[in-house]
Amino acid sequence: MTWNETRSALLREHYFHGTHKSGLSVYVFPKKLTTVYALFATRYGSVDTVLPLQNGQEVSLPEGTAHFLEHKLFENEDGSDAFAQFSQYGADANAYTTYNRTAYLFSATERVGEALRELLSFVTHPYFTEKTVKKEQGIIAEEIREGRDDPWDRCYGNMVRGLYEKNPVRFDVCGSEESIARITPELLYECCRVFYHPSNMALVVCGDVTPELVEEAVDAILPASESVSIPARKKIPEEPSTVYRARVSEQMQVAKPLFAIGFKDPDVSPDPLIRIRRDAAMTLLDEILFSRSGVFYNRLFEEGLLTQSFDAGYSCSDTFGFNGLFGESEDPERVLSRLTDYLDEVKREGIDRETFARCRSVLYADEIRAYDSTDEIANRLLSFVFDGAEIFDYPSLLQSITPEELERLLDEVYREEYRTLSVILPRSAEAEKVSLEQNEKGSLHRAD
């Protein structure tokens, strides 16, 4: 394996990249900390809802398949569990699924070579039966229920479903109890074959390790791949640039209404370099418009319209992009109308140059601080790798953004036709009454 080194003088960090003969991209980020953090990930997430078969045909996948597969891969053919093996190395293993990736990971402070081999091995050796698939359906059903009882989760998910009409980003990563019931062992095997080819994957290791140690582990587990099959192309249905629904709401067990205001980005570029610049610009714009030190938050907070829970953030991938504002308020509609007024004001008057400089220095510091944990470094590096961008370019990218660029972006994205308000309302009085009556019955139960 040939290793290429990339350095950042500003951050005083460096990493190595090489392509293994199996087709796997390998990244090693040396860091003199005790914990080694490793991620083995595939470009396959909940938005990949179409599976291309060997015979050229396609099948549509039940929602939640990528996440289901993530759970199932931990189970080995001999009935043992990958967790058990990691636990003997003192390694803490886990996995997660997002819209566009599935990642398997561990953090360890010793026996890193062995843990790496285990990571590469269990992910590439699938084993599923009717029985084990059935068993997992019960566990994931509880995970789905947990998510359904989380009001912030619902508020966010509903916002995305309001923004997008057709893009599968609108589906819950876990799927539904109904959709996961349709998953079979055959389907899972086929997903592994297509989406888990090493050339569709990356290994990122951060910590006190050498490229040689990582290479040894990869060599030991992954065979050379003669013909590197082309990973499945994502098929995303055509999506209108305007939102699907301007308003969505749901009643849940909350004391005060929660809100999420989403703005659908009308211009998501297929070019990763343009996308990463837009990501940096949107993040800086969020800091200027919506930070805790900013005019908007403080005005509304002092008036009692907002609480301490308030946040903003931009998410994007190659097929979608949106900015979200999240908070709690007795009157989300008023927050929305105040937001509209505020955005008009900034559009009219322009961005205050002093605020611009202050916010940029905050993001600069955030960027530096992000290099204090192997976990954070590995996950960020993976994001940049999968997005096709260079992680060390980010600080200089931030520095190169101008106020004028942000003012154009403000005009372009912050428009009514791109906006969805999602609200979680407290349950109506009627629903509360039923719950109260049951509570009274419940307290009788205390006597035993």
Binding site: L33, A91, S107, E110, N298, R358, D366, I368, Q438
Partner: protein, 445 residues
């Protein structure tokens, strides 16, 4: 190990004080951590008054009169973050502030070191809140924070898992200081006047003799100098009473069961167990291994049986409070699985007491603890939490020494520790929503 320094000097009121300062000098991180903490016995009313007070102090100071001004000041200090500390440790309530600040080596050229400026801001917040002409905390801020505090009281049910855990703690610790509500009731909170809160602030300020902690690349001399210049003059030096997190004793009583309902789709089962073993007991190390085997290691009995073998839940785990000698077990499940899950959970507890621990479970637990305590070194806040906690428990040993003692624990030690564990409280939060399918959105589809 951090080095302990004693900072001596004269306070603003002319008294001589000495202040413990713990410094761990390291250039491993790009951002360091500074904390000022004070431990007080948990007292009814004080418990939530402190929460309210800290929030009001964070709203505005003489020099930085609004939340916006404080936050903008933090921005100019290169995104320094300050957080309110307010948590229980055994019978003590720890209050104060912590700051995370960028190391000087990473500041743009020509920037001033941050330490003194950050301390100045912390001291403004702690000792110089914005007062009205009559010397009272600003009523606008007090009233606003009272509302926000009451919002938090009402929002406790927003997160069923956290709510069940909190209800379990209230029931389990009903006869101990730790069971005193950290929130109070809406009526009590709304009744507090700015004058009362101001008097309370003055009382706390007199007693506020903080423990200072710094982990980062700044030279110890510079840290001590900054503390001596900025903090010492602000203290009143009255000193505080000697406190211990272990002052109360858990009652021995019959198992108590409580069930309540909430309009959610999943039920939450919460079990509270007691043991006489706390952090100052020589058997603490065996208890830590026990806890890993039961519900914390990646192959813990609760995970492998309640979840993997019986598919009863997505998550089921336990947590050991070594100040109180309690173990809290939480499990989210279908209402109808409740009895079976409780039986299965208690079966795991009994199995360990009977010595049914596999080699893999035992070695996995030791490896998991080894890993967890080694990882502390990778995070300033984890180190601060570890050392501060050990100091409070009066059991100051390094993570290396702690790991060495854990490695000496035998299976027999674990079984002996397991035999001290008894069930005390069972709490079930029944979900009253339909089991099947998600609810349709009002305006969607």
């Amino acid at each position: 190990m951090p080095k302990t320094y004693t900072l001596t000097g004269t306070t603003g009121t002319g008294k001589n004080v000495s202040l413990p300062v713990r410094i761990l000098h390291t250039d491993k991180f790009k951002a360091g951590m500074l904390s000022l903490s004070c431990a007080l016995p948990i007292r009814s009313r004080d418990s939530w008054m402190l929460a309210l007070l800290l929030a009001v102090l964070r709203r505005g100071t003489e020099k930085y009169p609004s939340l916006a001004a404080i936050n903008q000041r933090l921005d100019t200090l290169f995104g320094t973050e300050i957080s309110i500390r307010n948590f229980y440790r055994g019978d003590l309530q720890v209050i104060g502030f912590a700051a995370e600040l960028l190391d000087d080596a990473y500041l743009p050229e020509g920037s001033e070191p941050l330490m003194e400026d950050v301390l100045e801001l912390l001291c403004q917040i702690l000792f110089h809140p914005l007062l009205d002409e009559e010397g009272c905390l600003l009523s606008r801020y007090v009233e606003s924070e009272k509302q926000l505090h009451c919002d938090q009281i009402r929002a406790r049910k927003n997160h069923p898992r956290a709510y069940a855990a909190e209800r379990l703690r209230e029931l389990l610790y009903s006869e101990e200081p730790i069971g005193i509500s950290a929130y109070g009731s809406e009526e009590e909170v709304m009744a507090v006047t700015p004058r009362e809160l101001t008097a309370f602030w003055k009382r706390i300020r007199q007693r506020f003799l903080p423990t200072c902690f710094y982990i980062g690349a700044a030279q110890p001399d510079a840290v001590l100098h900054a503390l001596s210049a900025r903090l010492l003059p602000e203290l009143s030096g009255k000193g505080q009473e000697a406190v211990s997190p272990f002052s109360s004793v858990a009652p021995v009583r019959e198992v108590r069961r409580t069930e309540e309902t909430l309009a959610v789709s999943q039920g939450q089962l919460a079990l509270g167990l007691r043991t006489e073993i706390t952090a100052r007991d020589p058997r603490f190390y065996a208890m830590a291994v026990y806890q890993e085997i039961l519900g914390s290691s990646p192959i813990a009995k609760l995970m492998m049986n309640v979840r993997e073998k019986h598919s009863l839940c997505y998550s089921c785990s336990s947590a050991y409070n070594s100040y109180k000698g309690s173990i809290l077990i939480l499990c989210g499940l279908k209402n109808e699985s409740r009895e079976k899950a409780e039986r299965e959970i208690l079966r795991q507890v009994e199995d360990i007491a009977k010595g049914q621990i596999s080699d893999a479970e035992f070695s996995g637990a030791l490896a998991s603890l080894e890993n967890a305590y080694r990882r502390i070194e990778d995070s300033p806040s984890a180190m601060e939490q570890y050392y501060y906690g050990r100091a409070l428990a009066d059991a100051e040993i390094s993570p290396e020494e702690l790991r060495r003692r854990l490695a000496c624990v035998t299976r027999e030690d674990v079984v002996a520790a397991a035999q001290t564990v008894r069930l005390d409280t069972v709490y079930f939060l029944r979900g009253t929503l339909e089991e099947k399918g998600g609810e349709e959105l009002d305006d969607l589809e």
